[in-house]
Subunit: 186 residues, 2 copies
């Protein structure tokens, strides 16, 4: 068996999996094929038997400054809390114009003008999240990022508010594909 | 056949290849096994028949600002010029302390204090280069980055000066493995 990057995670949609998919909405661009359930695994996806798979690696932060990182680390919760029976997987792709910007220009749009981290911080620790990077994998992916979220049922409206706030930002103008997959754990 | 990321390149050392390896020096950490020749291919490495292989993807720039990017694009040459018969492949790995820094802290070390891009600019267009990222591939790599360089024989001393300048910087204190592979094309 090939060794694998311990930061690699795969999202496997099909007939089985711990999460029941309740809704899958194409926010921008093409949808993903409908599937009943989702499993999130460490490592590469299985070779067959899924409706769709997505993979990504967790990595070093690209945009937060030290003050923001301290705030995030101080406030954020881990995925998998017993009460976090509601979840979402949101894969996004950014356009070529975004990737042609310099780091500093992307940071200015991401935080100084779109307040991405500042908005996210308001929903901690209720909403737990993990970001996965897909763009620089050897096998080309349909998305640049996958974010996994989980939260208690009571925080579902807060989660919708978080997404609504992010989707009105200047950063979101660079997103050319986004699918919003909601799910519950029984 | 699996689709592949068009930005993926592999460095395949063994008995064959367009480049003859003339020297391979472990600058920091473990060496790479000795090999006679090197081939650089688009896509993943072959499953067998090599002494060692390294893979990486080209990606968006992480550190340069707009002014530096304009200067780089204006001055840099492409790999593969007929006179560029001399080459180097320099894989490096940075330590956990580097990856725990924020982007801004890394930028400050990389450019404001180590002048990485400013040093590199002095050697353009004589030295052509391409940077490949390895850290976020699904199959774990022994290095975080691979840089490929080529240049005319007459610029070999300039290339040594460039490396000597970079290796005295604060940025280089975060490098915990570096192999310097020199080669010529007949």
């Amino acid at each position: 068996m090939l060794q694998q990057n311990t930061r690699l995670f795969s999202f496997v949609a099909g007939k089985s999996g711990r999460w029941q998919i309740t809704q899958s909405t194409a926010v921008v661009g093409e949808p993903l094929p409908p599937a009943a359930r989702l499993e999130i695994i460490e490592g590469p996806p299985p070779a067959a038997g899924s409706v769709w798979t997505l993979s990504g690696v967790t990595s070093n932060e690209r945009y937060v400054n030290r003050e923001e990182k301290i705030q995030l680390v101080g406030k954020q919760a881990s995925l998998g809390r017993p009460q976090a029976t509601h979840g979402a997987v949101i894969p996004i792709r950014k356009n070529a114009r975004w990737w042609g910007l310099t780091q500093q220009e992307r940071r200015e749009i991401f935080e100084e003008r779109s307040h991405h981290t500042a908005i996210g911080l308001k929903y901690l620790p209720a909403i737990a999240r993990r970001l996965h990077h897909c763009r620089d994998l050897a096998i080309p992916q349909s998305f640049d990022f996958i974010t996994l979220f989980d939260f208690a049922k009571a925080d579902s409206n807060a989660f919708d508010d978080l997404l609504a706030a992010l989707r009105t930002t200047e950063e979101w103008k660079y997103i050319d594909r986004e699918v919003d997959i909601r799910m519950i754990k029984e």
